[in-house]
Symmetry: C2
Subunit: 437 residues, 2 copies
């Protein structure tokens, strides 16, 4: 940090990456420079920007003398007080951030993948160095969720976090629900419109939501949860028939990431689930994200907004930059004193929730009894059942009472061996108002 | 702050008030003492509690030697590092807080009334003293909204805040909507159940929501808005017929507090409004609160949760206490550098929004033409109209296009002089998806 000619302090930022989010950060820092200076007590100036390809056209006009292609040089430069990492991916981002922290430079990152795998280690490094490591933008883009979890709820005990954390899948499920379209058609449209990647696996198979769920679990429970610890199912298996059944039961289907604590053990999972239509999360439509938090004293909270995009994510990064810059100006940080311990994980098999099972069966007497016997034999009791004729057979839909996942899986295995069951067409977890444990 | 025998630092709190919120604060600080110590880097100890009547029975067991009835003595005590004010009301709370700030003791308060009237002056005092003045609990109880507005959105430009800020009125409107009951019946029930005060005016006439709206406007726009600056209508005039009409049009009626900026001027208002049924605020039911924020870069955000109650509000206070205590432990604060200027207020007459006007009229030819002429004569154009027979007359419902409030009021005055109009039975503002300006 240096004093400018007019005695105004300046915090000099090194920006690593100038893609979508980086462009947003650049734009916001410039468009709102005056109000940011007021709020920070210092001007924030981007002195260096590292990009992979200097000649590539960008959304924002970054002067040539600021651009460079050596990211490590930016981190180490004397005229960089604070490092903003928006290049993404685990390496070289990880090495760059570690170096910045070694140099006691505060770091702001939007890197969900890196934080989901190395967050606790990097946070410990930052604490040891006495500088900020902030990553509000890594989860749910523009929605302030990290700061509320860390600061506002610091005096409370969080018991559960349920998030709609991926805009692409929520857009697809919303279109499937509201327009009655098929997964493949909506995905193709979303790809054409730029809402979904050419390779959609990170979104539709739940990898993105799993990384965010891991970060939320770590923050909520002070234990180290990695992206790979998260049980994960995507939305490829959700059919129009599932959505129809959900609607009939008064539910909507959402891809949710859940982190909760049961008997001291942390369960983390991402999968499609039926949510009651009057639950606050059920009204989250299209590309919007939301995070629902339950805490002992505070009760339920929900945070809703845009989970992606240059400007929302850029604004979240800039919020962190201002906070870190104020720490520099006041020559202080308030590093978190939270020590993140190892996580005792609860396997998915121990989950207790309700399930909606959709079967295609022969349309003849005795089928229901056979099916019911399979449930009963595995301690899964049935709460609701109905049967419709379809083509030459019948569709049988059963909703269970709260049951153990392991028992439900054994039931499904058994059903697949029942002669009159042609196909187990769908199994979806049902999260009732009180959610499952 | 002092070092304890075990070299663990201790932050000593003086608690002013031990009513509903104070009891919640006491309980949370004690039940979560260990995790709070970890997060703070210091133990937080309540060394003194000031109450009006020491003999009054309380929800929590506060040891006798801690209790006192001299609040100023608590503020000034050498063994108090940090003051928590949860007594409410403007005085003596204001004098106590000013004295604490003079002594450079950080202050946490839940006092909406005081902050709505003197927030900017007190914040300036705190900044001059270099200590924290935090009031997360003063708006929307347990919902983290102050911190996100101040910190997370510091790099963005907030353009509008719309809140459901009063749980009592939201409970009443929800019951009226869902059970079809009348205002007076629901209010009586709510009073019996303890959801509403014996004198319900602060809630049902919108005073409480107006104070919170003033605080939100001040934080969102960095201008001094006082509770008395807020245009205010309560819910006493909302009838079952209004709710029925709203439902038919695809809206729900909520008491909202709105703060927005138009051409550099700040509009602040509290009134019942029709919101589209698929708007995120529409799904906020019962005693829950929510704050919807629109910002340039971030887009729309919503924060949802419990707006009142000992534990949610207590948790919000404790979150602030932890933050302020960390400031003490790290012998630093990060005071806001925001300078709050005077507000240029936009009078309600300049509001431009849609209106739903419900008229009881004679059921004879020519009435619609007479009514339509009154609208047209005042530049208010009609978007939608329908007529139903009621008893021996008819009910005429008109929804306008976006119009100036002043023109609408002139229209209503004119309608009241039209012979065939028996009564202007209801006028409710309609906030469309894009909200009004």
């Amino acid at each position: 940090m240096e004093a400018s000619g007019t005695d105004e302090r300046v915090v000099r930022v090194g920006l690593l990456g100038a893609g979508t989010v980086g462009s947003g950060v650049w734009r916001i820092l410039h468009e709102h420079a005056d109000s940011i200076a007021t709020r920070t007590g210092a001007r924030i100036e981007v002195t260096r920007v590292a990009v992979r390809d200097r000649s590539r056209p960008r959304d924002v006009a970054i002067p040539d003398h600021v651009l460079g292609d050596d990211a490590m040089a930016v981190v180490e430069a004397d005229d960089v007080d604070l490092v903003v990492e928006v290049m993404g991916g685990r390496e070289p981002a990880g090495a760059l951030i570690r170096r910045a922290l070694e140099l006691r430079k505060p770091v702001v990152t939007a890197n969900k993948e890196l934080i989901a795998h190395e967050g606790p280690a990097l946070t410990a490094m930052a604490r040891a160095a006495g500088v900020d490591l902030a990553f509000e933008a890594a989860v749910a883009g523009g929605i302030p969720i990290i700061r509320p979890l860390r600061a506002s709820l610091a005096g409370d005990r969080v018991t559960r976090v349920v998030g709609i954390l991926n805009g692409t899948t929520n857009y697809i499920l919303t279109r499937m629900t509201e327009a009655g379209e098929d997964f493949a058609d909506v995905l193709a449209d979303a790809q054409a419109a730029g809402y979904a990647e050419a390779d959609p696996s990170a979104d539709v198979d739940g990898h993105d939501a799993a990384a965010k769920t891991a970060i939320l679990a770590t923050l909520a429970f002070d234990v180290a949860v990695h992206a790979d610890d998260v049980y994960r199912e995507g939305i490829r298996g959700v059919s129009a028939a599932d959505l129809r059944v959900a609607q009939r039961l008064g539910y909507v289907i959402k891809l949710i990431g859940v982190a909760n604590v049961v008997d001291g053990r942390v369960g983390v999972r991402v999968h499609p689930a039926m949510l009651p239509a009057d639950h606050p999360l059920a009204s989250v439509r299209g590309v919007f994200n939301a995070v629902y938090v339950e805490a002992d004293a505070t009760g339920p909270l929900m945070f809703y907004g845009k989970g992606a995009g240059a400007m929302p994510t850029g604004a979240a990064v800039v919020g962190d930059v201002i906070d870190a810059a104020r720490g520099l100006v006041h020559t202080t940080t308030r590093p978190s004193d939270v020590h993140v311990g190892p996580a005792d994980l609860r396997p998915i098999e121990e989950l207790r929730t309700q399930y909606c099972v959709r079967l295609e069966v022969d349309d003849r007497p005795g089928v229901l009894a056979e099916v019911a016997r399979s449930f009963g034999a595995h301690d899964v009791s049935i709460a609701q059942v109905w049967q419709d004729g379809v083509a030459d057979g019948a569709e049988l839909v059963l909703v269970t009472h709260r049951s153990r996942e392991a028992d439900l899986r054994a039931t499904v295995d058994a059903l697949e061996r029942v002669d009159s069951v042609r196909r187990v067409a769908g199994v979806i977890r049902v999260e009732s108002e009180a959610f499952s444990a």
